[in-house]
């Protein structure tokens, strides 16, 4: 027992003599303070804007007259504004903050030239703002996930390049020999996103490919933004925070490495399943279906790893905001990916294609998986950036439960409603208009779930800005926040 105790004492920073290591780590956190704050603040603002667009869109689906007299608030425009605000505004800003912060920490090196990073971040957000305004005033393109007008694309691409490059340079300057699996995911994602974005822009807008190749490029891009940009960032965070918060290494590190490489090899081909039944070569669709099913391998590997690590530690999950959100996200990742592979089967796709099922699936991926993991990561990162605790426990719980219940209701509504819609549409005896009417109760349910999510987001935003502004200037006066104090059991235990 004493050997056990002395082992932990030797790991205790307050007894460890290595002050230099501790100072260096806080220097790394400090180097990311302002850029991470910029990205998270912008991300939270975009999240709120995107929620407003989402509610407008959801209500318009059942009540078309709602704000119907303003042409810049018509369904097509607010729907695209919602999508772009959430993907490029919220998700990308959150991924920049969380990805670069984890990268810097794992490389044990500071992020270099934060001034340039901050300027690039400001320009990225200016570009998104112009892009969303462009969508609302009617300049949007007709290509899903790329609706922002072409005139803003060069600025977006340039700002991205100046943001992503610092993650890659931090990797070049890494002080550690071993490359942790999260570093692989982040490094790969930082390369993959510009690759996807520039090729899609060139082949669709600047040097347009002919005919259905545009559709192929479009879905290759849109699916891969989720699969090769948001997914790796989300998984990197899960692979870092789950073992980190629990204080216990991942269940099987070997499997996590295998999971990364199988994702890197298979995901790229999967997007074609969006065009099942479309006028493109059948072999291309078959290749997409095969790749979609191959994705079962990395998904099952990741699932085993995440869930086996958490198994037996549920008490710890419920006392940690970070784990609460991230475990919810990890469970959603398993479900959404296995459902996605199933949806790629031709027989299943016959039902789900062109229905609300697909919309539900998209929210399952981007919200229940990615966004929940980003929330969890932000709960971990912010106290370490500001050296200050989250002001309200109640608001965190409010945020979690409203979002968790809200998104669950939305997923049930869209999946069940979408499946019924698909079965009815495949039945030639049912007039088309009846299939549309049958979706209305489900769409009402979606609007209600959207309101729950909005309440959760408002709770998050209040807590967040309260933390950023309220006690400004008082840091360090009360020492380290309780949640940053290591579990010494000395001095602070009653």
């Amino acid at each position: 027992m004493s050997a056990f105790a002395s082992f932990f004492t030797s790991l205790n920073p307050y007894t460890a003599s290595d002050m230099a290591v501790r100072e260096k780590l806080s220097a790394i956190d400090r180097s990311m303070k302002w850029p991470a704050l910029l990205f998270i603040v912008s991300g939270v603002l975009w999240l709120l804007a995107g929620t407003v667009f989402a509610l407008l869109t959801a209500i318009k689906a059942t009540n078309p007259d709602f704000f119907g007299s303003y042409e810049w608030l018509t369904f097509g425009r607010v729907r695209s504004a919602h999508l772009n605000a959430m993907i490029y505004g919220w998700s990308n800003n959150a991924a920049f903050a969380v990805g670069l912060w984890i990268m810097a920490r794992l490389c044990r090196t500071e992020i270099r030239h934060v001034g340039l990073l901050i300027i690039a971040g400001i320009f990225w957000n200016i570009a998104i703002t112009i892009g969303i305004v462009g969508i609302l005033i009617g300049d949007m393109t007709s290509v899903e996930w790329l609706e922002m007008p072409s005139y803003i694309v060069p600025l977006l691409a340039l700002s991205y390049a100046l943001i992503g490059v610092w993650g890659i340079i931090a990797f070049r300057f890494r002080q550690t020999g071993h490359v942790y699996v999260s570093q692989w995911y982040i490094l790969a994602a930082l390369f993959w996103f510009p690759w996807l974005y520039t090729i899609a822009q060139i082949m669709i807008f600047y040097e347009p490919a002919r005919g259905t190749v545009q559709a192929l490029t479009n879905w290759w891009f849109a699916h891969n933004v989720l699969g090769l940009w948001l997914t790796p960032m989300g998984l990197a965070a899960a692979y870092y925070f789950i073992p980190k918060v629990l204080g216990k290494p991942i269940h099987s590190y070997y499997l996590s490495v295998l999971g990364f490489w199988t994702l890197a090899l298979f995901y790229n081909w999967a997007g074609v399943h969006h065009l099942i039944g479309g006028p493109i070569p059948a072999w291309a669709i078959s290749a997409g279906i095969v790749a979609s099913l191959m994705m079962v391998i990395p998904v099952v590997i990741t699932a085993i790893n995440h869930h086996m690590t958490v198994l037996g530690n549920f008490r710890k999950v419920f006392i940690s905001p970070t784990l609460l959100f991230i475990v919810f996200g990890a469970v959603s990742y398993t479900l959404v990916s296995l459902m996605g592979s199933t949806m790629a089967l031709r027989s299943v796709n016959e039902v789900t294609h062109f229905t609300h099922f697909t919309v539900g699936h998209a929210h399952h991926g981007v919200y229940a998986f990615f966004t929940m993991i980003m929330f969890g990561s932000i709960y971990f990162i912010m106290p370490r950036l500001l050296y200050r605790e989250w002001p309200s426990s109640a608001l965190i719980k409010c945020h979690f439960w409203f979002c968790a219940i809200g998104i669950t209701i939305m997923l049930v509504a869209l999946h069940v409603g979408g499946w019924i819609q698909g079965m009815q549409m495949n039945n030639p005896d049912i007039p088309f208009l009846d299939t549309v009417r049958a979706t209305i109760p489900w769409l009402h349910m979606r609007s209600v779930s959207g309101m729950l999510l909005a309440i959760g987001h408002i709770a998050f935003a209040i807590n967040f800005f309260w933390m950023v502004f309220a006690r400004y200037g008082r840091e360090d006066t009360e020492g380290v926040p309780t949640l940053l104090k290591p579990e010494t059991g000395e001095g602070d235990a009653s």
């Binding site: 205790n12 806080s26 002919r210 918060v245 590190y253 905001p321 949640l483 290591p486 579990e487 602070d492």
Partner: protein
């Protein structure tokens, strides 16, 4: 350009993507990244946030948790 040439171009880009992943995997193996995986799994822990300790709590809760844990330790 014709449809077929676009398909070939697209396929070439995808193959290049695949090749870059293979190249990176090859680098990782040669670099010894696949050895000592148990050590690698622990590389996320450091002196400030060591292994064996939970590092995140609801605000204000960690004291309670710590004292509970210590009681358990003292009696065992």
């Amino acid at each position: 350009m014709e449809f077929s040439s676009y398909i070939i171009l697209g396929f070439a880009m995808a193959a290049l993507f695949f090749a870059s992943a293979v190249w990176a995997l090859n680098w990782a193996i040669k670099n010894g990244q696949m050895k000592n995986l148990d050590e690698g799994a622990k590389s996320i822990f450091d002196d400030e946030e060591p292994m064996g300790f939970q590092t995140d709590f609801f605000p204000g809760q960690s004291h309670r948790v710590i004292s509970k844990k210590n009681k358990g330790k003292a009696t065992s």
